[in-house]
Subunit: 319 residues, 2 copies
């Protein structure tokens, strides 16, 4: 009997999932609301509902394993959610133990940014590379490091916090406790803050300000229309991103950097500054071979990554 | 017949070498001048002389392989010295090919900082850990990253340039082309420069200045005697080192950091600031488990590392 796995992406708003076969084809998709405000039991019931729905659709196929990506601090080995920004009451919560009662297939979880990197490595921008870093430039900056085709998780699953590389030691305070983290500049939040902080304030941002609903997307639209203040913000963001990537080049001698997340759509306005900065801050021998490319799988990277991780783990654990 | 390997450390002043057995015991040591000014052929003759001397001492034992550490950009796979600060005319020089004519055992080279990490991982401060970073705080700052018991060399052997993590994007220019590199602050050179740059100048450093021969060791002696300016320099250096280590924690989730090199002797005067800074700049869950320890093998780390690398490569290549 042919088999398949289920990859899930547990977001704060929706649970997105797909049945995926070993060739990386999506057989079926499901998306339902996560319903966080209705409590943990409801979220768990929703996860199980998604899995059941998919299983019912594929009665002729064997489900081998389930993988799921969750934002936050995930202990991959134990299947524990240590902390997650979307689920404040899930503290050191053994999700695997909780779900194992209902599932009769192996269940694996990992940090969503790690799994986005795994997905891009399997089927997307990283598939021809053994090693690469992925940076997800969204509300914050997530990261995943793939070394020799394996995600590098570190001592207890906390590796790849690339958004928390220090750029400016005395810079803007970050939620993580550090100051001047990459995430404070190379994210949608960071772009808005940099725009609002300009002193003297740039004309387009004084009109509305925060109350006027200045967003990273509006700044992007302004840049598109040639607004030089907005273009400067993206150039600044690009330079800062370049500093972070240069650190990764100097530390890991990695050649490929894959950029995903909504902010990556502003590509044309930041990429030149980023590449210029990478070259300035690395040895010529490493810097000139660095490739920075766009992620290819969009929102599906995490689902594919969850599926692939589950597939790989199930194979290595059943040996 | 019992076998052994030779580990060499090719420095700018001396070639240091030892015959090492599989248990990590040094059977014999040799040290002769490198004689760089007499040209490349002379240096090569000296390397061969060291190997011959050791071989003659161990006629009853079988030499299995030779390993050597060299500062600079080394292409480990090919045995090529791409660039070395100590040997300016060795550019893309295939040292392995050159020596293979004379040696009838496998010959391996790697960056000296990488091999110091390998040595500490085999017999020193890292031996109980699967993964750690070593920072060699000397004239510059060298680095080596051990992941799951293997040195991480990156795409072409340039990984572990930990001295070139950017601390201050607009900081002091570095030879590597970057600005504000860790090496510009956490090295002997950096300590002297920070002391000289104090404005207004601190009394102990105005007396002599550079011409008066202010060295990192003198600043260390002053700190020992309670001089508050010197103590402040080391605290500053510690904080900056902590920023760099915090980056490595956030990126790699590594628990152990081994500090070697002459500057590490000033341990008592910088370590508290370093640890304080690491904790501030990492997640509590990772930061509180970070251990920063002194290297244990001193100058021998590189020799042991070269020997161990040769041993391991010879085993894996003869399979």
């Amino acid at each position: 009997m042919k088999d398949y796995v289920i990859g899930l992406d547990l977001g704060g708003t929706n649970i997105r999932a797909a049945a995926v076969n070993r060739e990386g084809e999506i057989l079926h998709r499901v998306k339902i609301p996560t319903e966080v405000p209705l409590g943990r039991e409801r979220v768990i019931a929703n996860i199980l509902k998604v899995i059941d729905t998919i299983k019912k659709e594929h009665k002729g196929l064997k489900l081998s394993a389930v993988g799921m990506g969750i934002p936050g601090v995930i202990f991959f080995d134990k299947g524990i959610v240590a902390r997650s920004p979307n689920f404040p009451d899930w503290i050191d919560f053994n999700l695997r133990e909780r779900l194992n009662k209902y599932l009769n297939v192996p269940f694996y979880i990992d940090n969503d940014a790690n799994l986005a990197a795994v997905g891009e490595g399997w089927l997307g921008a990283g598939k021809k590379f053994n090693s690469f870093c992925m940076l997800t430039l969204g509300t914050g900056v997530g990261g995943g490091i793939v070394l020799n085709k394996n995600i590098w998780r570190g001592e207890y699953g906390m590796a790849g916090e690339l958004g928390h590389i220090t750029i400016y030691p005395d810079g803007h305070p970050c939620n993580c406790g550090n100051r001047g983290c990459l995430e404070q500049y190379a994210s949608a939040t960071g772009i808005v803050r940099m725009a609002m902080e300009e002193n003297p304030p740039s004309p387009p941002f004084t009109k509305g300000g925060k109350e006027g609903g200045i967003t990273a997307d509006k700044i992007y639209q302004l840049a598109k229309n040639g607004d030089r203040y907005s273009l400067e913000i993206f150039q600044k963001m690009g330079r800062i991103l370049g500093i972070g990537i240069a650190d990764l080049v100097n530390i890991l001698n990695i050649e490929l950097f894959v950029l995903g997340g909504g902010v990556a759509d502003s590509w044309n306005y930041f990429i030149d500054s980023a590449i210029d900065e990478i070259k300035k801050r690395t040895y010529r021998i490493t810097g000139e071979r660095v490739k920075v490319v766009k992620a290819e799988l969009g929102d599906d990277a995490g689902i594919f990554g969850a599926a692939y991780m589950a597939m790989k783990e199930e194979i290595s654990n059943s040996r």
